[in-house]
């Protein structure tokens, strides 16, 4: 039998990382990919916040003297057909992606929680109706529903956020409902009921806080797909309108004409989308491992 170093084994298992920074350091070490994801996400968020500082040009400013310039020291990612700096546009595009990502995820999750809680807690016909509505929303692909909605509402940032948020509701509602149903049977809920606490109060004070971990896991997992959906919508011309530098839109414009002559117009926005989504997906995966041990693989 091989000799075993208890200390290193324990360190690997995270035994001495009990709280605060130590715990974080342990988790970071344990979930290398998740940490990479977190770093990418942070960079993404910081980029969006400090877009004005990081970008070197006005993303909307047209420059007829430097059109379709290849990447250089002056224009790191080159310029587009209007002479607009691609680097600056990608930096500012992070704002749109982030706004859509966070906006629609938050909106979808909030509505989903309300529906899920109501459905799981009130049961009866409310549950029945909500269940059917969730069924309906789930039988349409996310992109199809979002497409029809943006076409109906018209292309604008708030409409895109709304259109992407609605299809998220059923996913969230399902999870919250299942959790609520399980929690309702828990002794502490019974206890709260026995001391005469109102149903509403029980739902908000006891049931809701206990669904937060799965909710966070789910929301992070959805973040990436909302960013992708926005990019797809914009690519199809039904998302964020010009002149906002949405990554998907940048691709659809350039893809139509410059695939060969100015490949940087196709490559960089695509990398930006993929990286942002990849980061959130990595982080979401790690978060699921940490917060939702049942799913742990």
């Amino acid at each position: 039998m091989a000799t075993i170093n208890f200390d290193s084994e324990l360190r690997r298992a995270g035994a001495n990382a009990t709280g605060g920074w130590g715990r974080f350091a342990f988790l970071a070490q344990r979930h290398v990919l998740g940490t990479v994801g977190l770093v990418i996400m942070l960079l993404f968020v910081l980029t969006a916040i400090f877009a004005n500082v990081i970008s070197r040009y006005d993303p909307l400013s047209v420059d007829s003297a430097h059109r379709l310039a290849a990447p250089s020291a002056l224009h790191w990612f080159g310029t587009d057909s209007f002479g607009r700096d691609v680097w600056s546009r990608i930096i500012h595009g992070a704002r749109i992606s982030l706004a859509v990502g966070i906006g629609s995820t938050t909106l979808g999750a909030t509505l989903g929680v309300i529906v899920g809680l109501a459905s799981g807690y009130l049961s009866g016909w409310v549950d029945l109706v909500f269940q059917r509505v969730t069924d309906i929303l789930q039988s349409l692909p996310l992109l199809v529903l979002a497409l029809v909605m943006t076409a109906a509402l018209g292309p604008s940032l708030p409409n895109v956020i709304l259109a992407i948020a609605i299809p998220l509701i059923p996913t969230v509602a399902r999870v919250i409902r299942a959790n609520t149903l399980a929690l309702r049977e828990q002794p502490f809920v019974e206890a709260a009921k026995s001391i005469g606490m109102s149903e509403m109060r029980i739902a908000l004070r006891h049931v809701l806080p206990n669904t937060i971990a799965p909710l966070i896991v789910l929301a992070t997992a959805q973040l990436g797909s909302t960013i992708l959906t926005e990019a797809s919508l914009s690519f199809l011309g039904l998302g964020i309108p010009e002149p906002y530098p949405s990554w998907g839109r940048m691709l659809s414009e350039s893809a139509a004409e410059y695939v060969r002559t100015a490949p940087w117009l196709v490559i960089f926005p695509g990398i930006a989308i993929s990286l942002a989504v990849f980061g959130t997906n990595l982080f979401g995966d790690a978060l699921r491992d940490i917060l939702d041990p049942r799913q742990r693989g």
């Binding site: 309906i136 349409l140 497409l147 029809v148 993929s274």
Partner: protein
């Protein structure tokens, strides 16, 4: 068993009814209608002509009447007429279905033949470097927008071969047919393969935690036998449900891929019809997509029940 199927069928109809209402109402919220677009193409607005056209297209009737008219027709197999081409909607939609079906079938085949084995390998070697690498690949697969992947494929194809696959409804050679469908199918299928792999992996891991796996080990079965004989047999079942999940997922990918590769299937047709506000086409296409998704899921459930010896109806 019979009661179960009836119940499932009933729920399916309720869902489809709900979808029809939602789609119908959504499309009527649209500011700007087909009449505006048709007139816009003419660059010219004469209110009298416009009112005429509106009446001709039945857009002046109350929404409820329009809806009943549509559903009534639908039940008789009459999908109405395309506003734009004035052909029966059925005639417009039907010929596009095989194109998309072929594409979807190939993509599904591609995603299953790549995703399932890799998912199993990843689960079996859980925690190993191989597992890490495969997980990163699958996650990046889910992170790459399919339209971008399509564009990259086009770019690569042009710079490597000096040409690119352009859709041709009547391919002359077997090879041409393959490239026309296979290349876009791979662009969609890559993302689906990533999803399949993840679902397979987690279902496989779930199986590997089961008691009977421990029993197999206790019998002295080798790791290979445990993984591929005992576990995989069981893991195949949940993988069937993957197809259900994937049906919806795939359609999203097809919409952008058909656009990138200029394939005249139903997915791109939906985008075009939306652009034209061609209600009969849009509502029928969305209904069609919903029916496909719902029916696929229904079939998957039935299939699952039929295959898995454990599931007994009525439980």
């Amino acid at each position: 068993m019979f009661a179960y199927i009836v119940r499932r069928l009933f729920l399916m109809l309720v869902t489809l009814f709900g979808i029809s209402v939602i789609i119908f109402v959504l499309l009527r919220v649209v500011p700007g209608n087909i009449v505006d677009i048709l007139f816009d193409a003419a660059g010219f607005v004469d209110p009298a002509d416009k009112a005429n056209l509106e009446r001709e297209l039945g857009l002046s009737q109350p929404i409820v009447i329009q809806y009943l008219h549509w559903i009534g027709g639908l039940l008789h197999g009459d999908l109405g007429y395309s506003y734009v081409s004035e052909k029966p909607a059925l005639e417009e939609i039907l010929p596009r279905i095989p194109i998309t079906a072929r594409l979807a079938g190939l993509a599904l085949l591609f995603s299953a033949s790549i995703g399932i084995p890799l998912g199993v390998i990843s689960a079996v070697h859980q925690g190993s470097r191989l597992d890490y690498a495969l997980r990163v690949v699958s996650l990046s697969g889910l992170s790459l927008p399919s339209f971008w992947l399509g564009l990259l494929i086009l770019m690569a194809s042009v710079s490597l071969f000096g040409t690119m696959p352009i859709f041709n409804p009547n391919p002359k050679t077997w090879l041409e047919a393959l490239t026309i469908y296979a290349v876009p199918a791979m662009a969609v299928g890559f993302r689906s393969a990533a999803l399949t792999m993840r679902i397979t992996r987690s279902s496989m891991l779930e199986i590997l935690r089961q008691d009977y796996i421990r029993t197999a080990r206790a019998k002295g079965a080798s790791e290979a036998s445990v993984n591929y004989h005992h576990a995989l047999k069981n893991a195949v079942l949940p993988v069937i449900t993957v197809i259900g999940i994937e049906a919806a997922f795939l359609i999203g990918g097809l919409i952008v891929t058909e656009t990138v590769f200029n394939i005249p299937g139903i997915a791109r047709f939906l985008v075009e019809a939306l652009r034209w506000r061609d209600y009969p086409i849009v509502q029928n296409l969305v209904m069609f997509i919903a029916v496909v998704v719902v029916v696929v899921n229904f079939i998957v459930d039935m299939l699952y029940a039929a295959i898995d010896p454990r599931i007994r109806f009525g439980d």
